[in-house]
Symmetry: C2
Subunit: 455 residues, 2 copies
């Protein structure tokens, strides 16, 4: 069972979802609406999105219901008619959801998911679906950059302390794992998701002893085969020499020091000097881990300069997605009944209609072009359809993929990215084509609301 | 009851807290440790921190316990001795916590809270206490800037969809309310914290009807006395004219249109033109609300230019604290037994010892200087002590203040800030003095670990 439970999750919504629902109810508007959840644009530092949070989104949809307590609270607001509240009390999600598999790489305007359901049901999902998909797509997209930068070096997610709350902390571990991190420090996340745990020691452990060597020895006594010593509390090179002492003592009793961690200072210079100290003492197998406010750029620089670092601990800047803490992810009505709809608000135009999304690959296996079309159009020859029906009549069509499957899928997705999209800075743009059919429907819908035709 | 429950919260921790605890246990280190939770430095865009998250932090400490399930999971990791796991099973927090009242303005190096407890208990609190205090202090500090910028205009927090998960969404509503926002759109947060709810309508409501006027009329029928119409779906000025039509129809039946919302475009120009349309039609009482990716700078600019906007809806950039999504908040061991301790890691030096924190005020009532001292020193004459004992022997000394009390306290705190600290850009620095006693103890501790004396 998940360690974090949201009671009365149906109330985890913006008030206007409920007031709009009340007005739809009053007007007897019950036709099927299609909403599309997509990113309008990317932050400048993102070339792609790793779609994540879909399992939570689907679980929210299929579990949607208002408890008597929730109804009672809504009644207490004095805003809603009794008939509407009664209707809400029996409301369940009965619609269809199409989604890309979690861990799929997508681009602006490409739906991560689409919901087709009676308009009230579909509307009521907006806030919670966005919350789930936004958080995890933000985190997975950031983590993917770090995975790319680390070129196969071991990565540990250990930023729970500065994640935005409990939910974000758990999800950071999940998203880091999906994209290729090797472990998390978050024990609860480890249990919840079956992610390997890792950890070293804090400065407080060293300073509690006062004597650094005694601290190292004490830790090695407790964990003689897995100790990673934090050597920068006072003087890093002195710390490295003390680590050698402990490594010798461990070796003498048939154990082995696992590693040392550098958490401050010039990590390139220090890692080289520490490597030399360890190697000269005969401990080439003692790993050097680096941490301390690192992000993908720091890791790339260290590795480009040849820093002898075997693993990185990444925290805050991953866990809050420091350079891009939000995505412009939206949930927009694109069809109501048999009528395509769109808004024209400046800079916020949307594509009409339920979508198809198809991807083609080059002979090298790399992605070669996406087509955004209407769901009813014929897919481009040889393309892969990214949107799949995952919920029908309110029920999951198959179990969620295991986290291991999502991780493998995501690795496969990242492997299809051309170098120019994997660049950490100055990345290229990926071309998403719009099908002629979608473009024609868009123009008809624009004409219907009196918009000028695109030039 | 809080809508979000974290089961086995004791596992919501970094693995190293548990491995360090195991080593402390093995070494029979049971003396009292004092940890200090403070910000090392501020992001460039922050002149102060609004301390928040303390209620959650204290509840975590006093509720700390490992369930049999949690112990079983730890056992399954194969890292811990049975004796230690047995000890963990009966562990409770028995120590003391001193904290500033929630909503207090603090500065770098000033403890938000300090924990004095047997070292294992105090160490095990680190990750969760940081997570709670970090999230809410980030959010409250950002919200305070928006409150300052809004100069008394009404503020609605409505960014739950892009908050980092469920916990952050609830806490954003709480923190915005603490600092002076008037409402939230998050229904669950409204119920959990007793915060007034507000909301308007989404573009989907308008586009579902297709005919904007019909959409407005339908919403007004459902909410004839509280309707706020979103008028930018197609053409904002046309939307304003249709709002006038609805305002007339409402007036004819004894009701009143509450307001209109602008969510895109040039908000200054549009708000003026919309105001003119409403006024000329005889509806000076219809309020104009503005939204659309706004932050404190946008709000300040609009108001400085005289935009006739009565209220602002603020979302994403508040909810993720876009310009500063993290604070360099740390939890550092400052004393073990009767020995002051510190680390010397480059750029991460800490002040030793359990602290006193005192604030003086000028004749104008504004803050005039803080002193960071040792807890045992005599407070400066006429100063106010900011740190208070709130937990003793593991028990709360008094109930948590109500959220209303926290809100009033925070308003009082913001009122003591001089203009130069309230500036949104190019703010001044506030001087935190270090007492001679603390400085002397620091130098003795540095000498004990062989550090050079500060120059």
């Amino acid at each position: 069972m998940h360690p974090l439970t949201l009671r009365d999750a149906a109330l985890f919504t913006d008030l206007y979802e409920l007031t709009m629902a009340a007005a739809f109810f009053r007007e007897e508007m019950r036709e099927t609406a299609t909403f599309s959840l997509f990113a309008r644009r990317l932050p400048p530092t993102r070339a792609f999105i790793v779609a994540a949070g879909l399992e939570d989104a689907l679980e929210y949809a299929r579990g949607l219901h208002f408890t008597p307590d929730a109804i009672e609270y809504l009644r207490s607001l004095g805003r809603f008619e009794p008939e509407f509240l009664e209707y809400l009390g029996s409301l369940r999600f009965t619609g269809e959801i199409r989604a890309v598999p979690e861990g799929t790489v997508i681009f602006p305007d490409e739906p991560m998911l689409e919901v087709s359901a009676p308009v009230i049901e579909a509307q009521l999902l907006e806030s919670a679906l966005l919350n789930a998909c936004h958080l995890q797509s933000v985190l997975a997209s950031k983590a993917a950059r770090i995975v790319i930068a680390a070129q196969g070096r071991d990565l540990a997610e250990f930023g729970m302390r500065r994640s935005h709350g409990t939910d974000a902390a758990l999800k950071a571990a999940r998203c880091a794992w999906i994209t290729g991190f090797g472990s998390t420090s978050d024990v609860l996340a480890g249990r919840a998701y079956g992610i390997p745990l890792s950890g070293t020691m804090a400065h407080s452990f060293v300073t509690a002893f006062g004597d650094e060597l005694e601290a190292f020895r004490a830790y090695a006594r407790a964990f003689p085969d897995s100790a990673i010593l934090l050597i920068d509390s006072y003087d890093t090179l002195e710390g490295a020499r003390k680590a050698v002492t402990v490594a010798r003592e461990l070796a003498a009793s048939g154990h082995a020091l696992a590693g040392v961690r550098l958490d401050s200072g010039d990590l390139l210079t220090l890692s080289r000097e520490v490597r030399r100290i360890l190697d000269e003492a005969g401990f080439p197998g003692v790993r050097i881990l680096a941490s301390g406010g690192l992000d993908e750029h720091d890791i790339a620089s260290l590795l480009a300069a040849g820093a002898p670092v075997e693993g990185f601990g990444v925290g805050t800047r991953l866990n809050v997605s420091a350079d891009a803490p939000s995505l412009d992810l939206v949930y927009k009505l694109v069809c109501y009944g048999d009528r395509d709809v769109l808004k024209l608000s400046e800079g916020k135009e949307t594509w009409v209609g339920a979508k198809g999304l198809y991807r083609s690959f080059g002979p090298d296996g790399l992605i070669a072009g996406d087509v955004l079309s209407l769901g009813v159009e014929t897919p481009p020859t040889g393309s892969v359809s990214l949107l799949q029906v995952v919920v029908d009549e309110g029920e999951l069509l198959r179990p969620h993929p295991s986290l291991g499957d999502v991780r493998r899928h995501c690795a496969g997705q990242l492997a299809t990215l051309p170098d120019q999209l994997k660049r950490l800075q100055g990345h290229g743009e990926y071309s998403v084509a719009v099908s002629p059919g979608l473009r024609a429907r868009q123009e008809r819908a624009q004409a219907a609301v009196g918009a000028p035709r695109p030039g």
